[in-house]
């Protein structure tokens, strides 16, 4: 699907460029095409190598999906911390550079905290 979309944008980009000779739009369409090919080719590559998954099997029973799907943390303070950090970074753009100090501090702290929490598996 993504590869198809990417090809569509590729054709559109070519048509648009040849017809209009306008740079901005053509570059954005080119970028759109690449942005589709990037995950599209990744998924394509994986879909060739992965064993068939239960969710793509039209006859799968619920039992065939049994097992651990992944780790889902129940609670975590770090997104909030990082959100506040980003908030301060943006305020620095408006009100003064000194807002960057708490901003980058909070973001860094949250990055560190969130990563180590992820390593431990997180709270459920």
């Amino acid at each position: 699907m993504l590869v198809g979309l990417g090809m569509f944008f590729g054709v559109m980009c070519l048509v648009y460029w040849l017809w209009s000779k306008e740079q901005g739009g053509s570059v954005m369409m080119l970028a759109g095409m690449l942005l589709c090919f990037l995950p599209g080719s990744y998924y394509f590559w994986w879909s060739r190598r992965m064993r068939p998954r239960a969710e793509d099997d039209p006859k799968a029973t619920q039992a065939s999906g049994a097992g651990v799907i992944g780790t889902f943390p129940g609670t975590s303070i770090w997104p909030f911390t990082m959100g506040m950090g980003a908030f301060f970074v943006v305020l620095a753009l408006v009100f003064g550079i000194w807002f960057l100090v708490p901003g980058i501090g909070l973001v860094g702290w949250a990055l560190f905290g969130g990563t180590s929490e992820g390593r431990r598996g997180g709270k459920h």
Binding site: G25, Y43, P58, P79, G83, A86, L91
Partner: protein
């Protein structure tokens, strides 16, 4: 397709079964939760609050326009008001509501997933959205007021010479935050839908709502980075002395419009596709039929998504510097998949058992209103017609028809999925009052604006002293806006009135999709058990064995059968 269903089996996850989740409560729960349902509720409440704020701005705007030379607000305040009305409604209400609020709650449950793929990223999205909203709105409290260059912020009006002051910077900052929030949500939704589907939930068994959200997520990933880049360029122009959008330094003002609308038109579909999905689900459930032309619907959505990235300059026809035929034909072509959707919706109701609950009324209201908005959109895709309606109230009326249709879809979705989220139904009688206020209000509000636009009233004007004849129609439109405001009041009253009054049960509407299989509200990690998934309507198939969707039919066959049946 077998009629026999295996008994439901326990859906294994790492969570111990049948055990309530114990975690922090109260404000700490809200702050730290990474559960997609809690985040989705936060999104819902915040975005509805934003809708109320944006609505108040709208009412002030309409009050100002009731007389030709009104001085209710000053010219400067008026510019701030409509800028923030547009910004709040588009960036802070419709968008986050469409792909943040209900998507967050419903998509994982519809595909049988325990949560979003990246719960912490999901929480971060919400915090960025909330802080972004606060940032943008705080513009009202700084010297010079909020941003006042329209929600499109056309350069060079948005540069530091023409709009100095912190309000504009707060607008840019708020948009940067909500932009990143949207991008993270896009990543999250894509990954969730690709990797966390329940066994048997193949791509072509996903409910239309989930399909639409997948395509929305891809559009977000394609469009929002462009906006973010544009905003950073705009900020650099304002503060670091670059001349990307200013003529003085060799820049090109129209480049901003190209960048903005390269995001801005897909954004229209980023708002609309989720609501299309909601309406599709509602119509199917309340007609007791499967979605008519399911695969056609999916391909129509894909086509809309693909075309939407090639039509941005139809907002710029009158700039004189865009390639008219290209954008004209691309924009006109979007009418085709949209028309397919419209006919599929009608086909879903056809020969069904249409139950006029509030949600269904809202969906039908959506159909009518969107029909008006869609057809007037075709006019605007034709450059000669765009030349004489561009930047007049005709355009304002067109997109208000569209967004008010989306608003009805959104309200319908709240009535439809609200019970799943909270466990309680809303009062149907107040709901119907709300629907009629909203529906009639919308038509009374938009139709005079179409005529005003044709009579030459430009948008974004606070006074029209030379045209007292416009007063009458403006007054009618203001009455319509008031009715819409009253409908919102009715909605809030309904929430207060129905507070924990009508327990919903697991499946109040005889729903089709997996979210109606679990409890209301769903447990932590969503499911105690899952049914066998053999179509896009697993819950329906489980509840009504022997009523699976009929296979591909042909027109003649269908006619003969209907004759036999009747």
């Amino acid at each position: 397709m077998t009629d026999v269903l295996d008994p439901p089996v326990v859906h294994e996850s790492h969570e111990p079964e049948h055990e309530e989740h114990h975690g922090p409560t109260g404000i700490l729960k809200w702050m730290t939760s990474t559960d997609h349902k809690v985040i989705g509720m936060s999104y819902t409440i915040t975005s509805v609050l934003m809708m109320v704020i944006g609505g108040i701005f709208a009412e002030i705007i309409r009050a100002q326009l009731t007389t030709p030379n009104n001085s209710l607000v000053s010219l400067a305040q008026y510019n701030e008001l409509f800028t923030m009305h547009g910004s709040v409604m588009i960036y802070l209400f419709m968008g986050p509501f469409a792909f943040g609020a209900l998507a967050n709650i419903i998509v994982p449950i519809q595909i049988g997933a325990p949560d979003m793929a990246f719960p912490r990223l999901n929480a971060l999205s919400y915090w960025l959205y909330l802080t972004g909203s606060i940032t943008m709105l705080s513009g009202f409290f700084v010297a010079g007021g909020a941003a006042n260059f329209g929600w499109v912020a056309y350069a060079p009006l948005s540069n530091s010479v023409n709009t100095p002051g912190a309000g504009a910077d707060l607008w840019i900052g708020g948009l940067l935050l909500t932009g990143f929030s949207a991008i993270f949500t896009g990543v999250n939704l894509t990954a969730t839908i690709f990797y966390l589907r329940a066994p048997g939930m193949t791509m072509f068994r996903m409910p239309i709502f989930t399909w639409n959200l997948l395509i929305t997520a891809i559009l977000i990933l394609l469009a929002f980075p462009v906006l973010t880049a544009g905003l950073i360029m705009l900020y650099c122009d304002r503060h670091f002395g670059t001349h990307i959008f200013s003529v003085a330094g060799g820049g090109v003002p129209v480049l901003w419009q190209n960048i903005f609308w390269f995001w801005g038109h897909p954004e229209v579909y980023i708002l609309a596709l989720p609501i299309f999905g909601m309406v599709t689900e509602i119509i199917a459930v309340f007609s007791r039929k499967p979605v008519f032309g399911y695969k056609g619907m999916v391909f129509a959505t894909l086509t809309i998504g693909a075309l939407s990235l090639g039509v941005w300059a139809h907002h710029m026809f009158t700039t004189g510097v865009v390639l008219l035929p290209f954008f004209s034909i691309m924009s006109l072509l979007i009418a085709v998949p949209t028309g397919i959707k419209m006919f599929n919706w009608i086909g879903t109701m056809w020969r069904g058992q249409v139950w006029f609950s509030t949600a269904m009324l809202m969906a039908i209201g959506f159909l009518f209103t969107f029909l008006v908005g869609g057809i007037t959109g075709i006019y605007l895709a034709s450059p000669p017609l765009d030349f004489f309606t561009h930047d007049t109230y005709f355009v304002v009326a067109h997109f208000h028809s569209v967004v008010m249709a989306l608003m009805m879809g959104a309200m319908g979705a709240l009535y439809y999925w609200g019970p799943k989220m909270t466990g309680y139904l809303l009062n149907e009688r107040i709901g119907k009052v709300q629907f009629w206020l909203l529906f009639i209000g919308t038509q009374v509000f938009t139709f005079p604006m179409y005529i005003l636009g044709l009579r030459g009233m430009p948008r974004r004007i606070a006074i029209y002293p030379l045209h007292p004849s416009w007063q009458y129609l403006n007054g009618v439109a203001s009455v319509g806006a008031m009715l819409i405001g009253l409908s919102t009041v009715a909605f809030l009253v309904n929430i207060a009135y129905s507070w924990k009054k009508y327990p919903a049960g697991d499946n109040p509407w005889d729903g089709h999709t997996l979210e109606w299989f679990t409890t209301s509200p769903p447990p932590h990690h969503n499911f105690y058990r899952l049914p066998q998934i053999r179509s896009e309507r697993p819950t329906w198939d489980y509840n009504h064995p022997g009523h699976q969707a009929a296979a591909h039919g042909h027109l003649a066959e269908a006619l003969i059968e209907s004759d036999v049946n009747s």
